[in-house]
């Protein structure tokens, strides 16, 4: 089954079994292996990519459902030589250890900051009718869809807070 996508700004076409998830299409068909498979069931967040401007679990989406969509993966955020500000902050704050969940964390955080900017409330927003503040508690809750067994959580929060405080990802 043919699917046309824009991935990291480039038009890509894949020809794949309809069973192919967006995650496996990126990894196996487009060789974009930065996006990781940690559980394949939407329970860890390692596969997070930004589709249509929003963070999603690419393991729980079929590639063929994304015909015509724009997808941004970790490779689209920065290369080792041209890291985004958030990627740099993850390195500086040691926002990872083994690094396996890291692409998902960074994609998630990149899109999460836009959600925060847009004023979306979260589970820890005291009054959902009010605009959320940029706090450790808010960032921590909003990043809870990305497991990290090495538990760089405090460092991940520090990295995000630094960049969010500066107002750019």
């Amino acid at each position: 089954m043919r699917t046309d996508l824009t991935v990291n700004g480039q038009s890509r076409t894949i020809e794949a079994d309809p069973r192919t998830t967006l995650l496996d299409a990126l990894r196996h068909h487009l060789k974009l292996t930065g996006t990781k498979k940690g559980c394949d069931h939407g329970q860890c967040g390692a596969c997070t990519v930004i589709a249509g401007g929003r963070r999603i679990n690419s393991c729980l989406s079929l590639a063929c459902m994304h015909d015509g969509d724009e997808v941004v993966t970790i490779e689209g955020l920065g290369t080792p030589e041209t890291l985004s500000a958030l990627q740099e902050a993850f390195v500086r704050h040691d926002g990872f250890q083994c690094g396996f969940c890291t692409p998902g964390q960074i994609c998630s955080a990149t899109a999460m900051l836009e959600e925060l900017q847009a004023g979306w409330p979260s589970h820890v927003t005291a009054d959902v009718a009010s605009a959320p503040a940029l706090t450790v508690e808010e960032v921590s809750e909003r990043m809870s869809g990305n497991l990290c067994r090495c538990s760089a959580y405090p460092n991940i929060v520090d990295a995000i807070m630094e960049i969010a405080g500066r107002g750019r990802a």
């Binding site: 089954m1 079994d17 309809p18 069973r19 998830t21 394949d40 069931h41 939407g42 967040g45 997070t48 929003r54 963070r55 999603i56 679990n57 729980l60 989406s61 079929l62 063929c64 459902m65 015909d67 998630s108 999460m112 959600e115 847009a118 004023g119 979306w120 409330p121 979260s122 589970h123 927003t125 009054d127 959902v128 009718a129 809750e141 909003r142 809870s144 869809g145 990305n146």
Partner: protein, 325 residues
């Protein structure tokens, strides 16, 4: 995942026709694909409805909201009207899943989430919900997640949704179009079915039906809350949840509506408890009586017996919170 045919529906009629022919509708897919990978569900055909025009939230006549079936959980939670008039619904949505999942999961799909029963998820285990007539292996097994209310000897599973619990307390109705052009509006209590001896049939939907919207009446009460209790701070299903809405007029509780998650085969509601509260002055004793009434019918399974005191205590705390000045 078994092979399937994939079609993208261009219109609602298209979707209903294909679904009528045996295709399973896929929207967000966050639960369906999870289950298909394990072959717990194995549809022969999928019809993708994501491009249908069901993604808006409109103001309905009489002051309510009409939420399109494809409105994503995150958009619904972030909607200004929902946040102002139905904060409990926003809270329930935000207590569920993760940011990533909420960005995909839809209003219609959320209602149709399947149970998280461990035995349903493992195809090596007998399960009447997955394979009618094979038995219920959860009974006598690990039952931490299981139901206190509405279970049967054939199935003791719970409904996992947070959103649906809030909707039930808000008296929401599900708008369903069927292939013959008829539109039905069903309150959630009539939409879901108890397991009885057919736990595999969870709703009244028939092939060819399409959920097109959820209708919220004007908010029944200004005092609303959704409280979820779970095994970790975030990203876990409810052990117990309580959705509550009421008003206090002249020192009396009026129009209380309470729904409970994590404890029933469907989002649970008990009219007796609400009747007991209606018109009464809030008091600790009243709340204790209401909680006792609620749990009086509970049928624990062993591993979930803790949910009885947990539910009792959580309900009382919710009532205290809602009636405090």
């Amino acid at each position: 995942m078994r092979p399937f045919e994939f079609t993208r529906a261009e219109s609602a009629a298209d979707a209903m026709r294909l679904a009528g022919d045996g295709a399973t509708i896929i929207a967000g897919g966050t639960n369906l694909l999870d289950l298909m990978k394990l072959e717990v569900m194995a549809p022969q055909a999928l019809v993708d409805i994501n491009r249908l025009d069901l993604g808006d939230i409109d103001e309905a006549e009489g002051g309510g909201l009409r939420i399109g079936a494809l409105v994503r959980n995150s958009d619904l939670a972030a909607d200004r009207r929902v946040r102002d008039a139905y904060p409990m619904l926003a809270e329930a949505l935000l207590a569920g899943a993760s940011g990533q999942l909420r960005n995909k999961a839809t209003t219609g799909g959320n209602l149709l989430q399947r149970t998280r029963c461990y035995y349903y998820y493992d195809t090596a285990m007998p399960c009447n919900k997955r394979e009618p007539g094979s038995g219920c292996q959860a009974i006598g097994g690990i039952t931490r997640l299981h139901a206190l209310f509405g279970a049967s000897e054939h199935c003791i599973a719970t409904h996992p949704s947070d959103m649906a619990v809030a909707l039930r307390a808000l008296d929401a109705r599900v708008e369903i179009q069927s292939q013959d052009g008829v539109t039905r509006m069903l309150p959630l209590g009539d939409f879901y079915r108890l397991p009885g001896d057919t736990p595999h049939i969870e709703t009244v939907l028939v092939p060819g039906d399409l959920i097109t919207a959820v209708l919220l009446p004007a908010p029944a009460g200004a005092r609303q809350t959704y409280r979820k209790v779970r095994d970790r701070a975030s990203y876990a299903f409810a052990l117990v949840s309580v959705a509550g809405v009421l008003d206090v007029e002249d020192g009396r509780i009026v129009r209380p509506a309470l729904a409970f998650g994590g404890v029933g085969h469907m989002p649970w509601r008990n009219p007796e408890v609400e009747a007991l509260l209606e018109g009464e002055a809030p008091s600790v004793d009243l709340f204790a009586e209401a909680a006792a009434r609620l749990v009086a019918e509970a049928e624990p399974q062993g591993g979930n017996a803790f949910k009885i005191p947990l539910l009792r205590r959580t309900l009382q705390a919710v009532l205290r919170e809602l009636t405090e000045a």
